[in-house]
Amino acid sequence: MNIFDRMMSLDRRWVFLFVALVCVITYLIPFSIKINITPEVKSIYDHVESLKAGDYILLAIDYDPNALAELHPMTYAIAEQAFRKELKVIFVTLSQNGPGMADQAIRDISDSLRLEKTYNGITYPARQLINGKDYVFLGYKPYPALVILGMGQNFRLPFPSDYYGTPLDSIPMMKGVLNYDQIKCVIDFAAGNVADMWISYGQGRYNFPLALGMTGVMGADYYPYLNSGQVFGLMGGLLGAAQYESLADNPGPAIDGMRIQLYAHIVIILFILMGNIGFLVTRRKKQV
């Protein structure tokens, strides 16, 4: 058995082991790599930056813990940027395990906001986030399409109370906020087909500015919606999150993870090349 035959019969567990080793080693050795910003990510950042203090945005946390690694960094970066700019944020989740994700994000960002920080040369003073004044967490309701349509009529229709049981009419921030008409943009962090529903039933029906943050697996499928103008921005996977962190000058786990991505991808490309070379050589040998 020569080297090419060995390549063809390589146990896949060696590939797993090699990729895991490369990931662990690059994770433990700190170094940085350059992040290139794409227009579809920058347009989200620019849109949030263009909003004034007191404007409302809606962040839809439509993912479960299985997509946490990719989507949490996006949520953190955008929510922190919004709160530093003193925007009013409405959180909602249309994913059944989403409440835990949103709750964790709100608590962590609240902690981060207690410290004075400088982003892109602007120093933001420390502030205390107040539930009902600075943000509202509506919670979770099943059947995303119906909830999205319901919120278009009145937030109180699918969510008579917020996640913590306070009636929406008793929440100071929700006074005069009826539906999407009062919202400057919706940013959906999605790990499933909820993104389709936001596009069809939300943006298609109510015509609000919509941006998507999504898992890498979904990324390529949603570029046609960007091209058609149905979404004004798109962040795909950890790379999209890293770009946003870079734009917001708020380095986090996404930028940290990029060096692992880089070397893991190199390893995978090498294995693909090895497999193809082995295949071509052994096929030629058989033909001879």
């Binding site: 567990r13 797993f16 990729v19 990931c23 662990v24 994770y27 433990l28 700190p30 290139n36 227009p39 299985n66 997509a67 946490l68 690694a69 990719e70 059944q96 395990n97 919670g139 979770y140 309701k141 099943p142 399409a145 009529q153 009145n154 109180r156 229709l157 699918p158 008579p160 109370s161 049981g165 009636p167 389709d196 069809s200 039933y201 943006q203 298609g204 898992t215 890498g216 697996v217 979904m218 990324g219 390529a220 046609p224 919606y225 091209n227 058609s228 103008g229 149905q230 795909g236 996977g237 950890l238 790379l239 786990p253 940290d256 993870g257 692992i260 991505q261 893991a264 991808h265 995978i268």
Partner: protein, 277 residues
Amino acid sequence: MSRTMIILLALVAIVFAVSWAAKSASLDDQYDDYISRGFLITLAAFLTLSILSFLYKDNPFYKFAEHLFVGVSAAYWMSLGFWSTIVGNLIPRLSVTLSAFFKVPHIEDEYALYILPDKVSYFIPVVLGILLLMRLSKKAGWISSWPLAFIVGTTAGLNLVRYLRSDFIEQVSSTFVPLLVDWQGTGRFFSDFNLYAYGQFVTMLGNWVIFIGVLCGLVYFFFSKEHKGIFGGASRVGIWVLMITFGASFGYTVMGRISLLVGRLTFLFHDWLELIG
């Protein structure tokens, strides 16, 4: 149970206990509930490693983690559905007494369907929901077909409009792109010559790719004419376009999977082992 498995289980139990103790000790000065936090982080690490162990081969630890996940998810979803929809949406609008019982504020609903008498509209989904549960009965199981038909009909109607609007009309209209640009000189034509910029040349090139890609992709799926000659050539270009699309999608998938691995590594090395800051 084999002797090897007993030794393995004992080893895992010892490692788990040591990790729990060490983790709790490290959290001692940060949290009051450091023992439970230590347990939860250790359990999460154990479950992560159990799932990852499947990469080597199927084993009892993987099976345990998988079954635990399925069971917990089902129970969580069911209880969440009850508390968020039945208690969260229905009860407050239905009755003052029931609202008080479940400790949720009663809502005088101003958004009800006024074509029906007060509160009656809320009983329709309740009845349909109960009928759906009749599936559990062998004799009366057929009744569940009625609410199911309602769900299928509603979903089909909603999706028809949805696809027609966002995935058909909008997508077709977005392929009507200008294939030529106003000539404003060589300098303007080749300005911003990179893939991220929108200079005249890049825009025009992108529009041609969209035009040819859509046309050839459609030709590939046109089966009423034999794929020969110009038609066959366009079909082959269509295959290439599809392959490139699948390749881009696969590339994104690989990136997504590595991202998930990065997430788990962050948990193991940062939250559990605290090897990195």
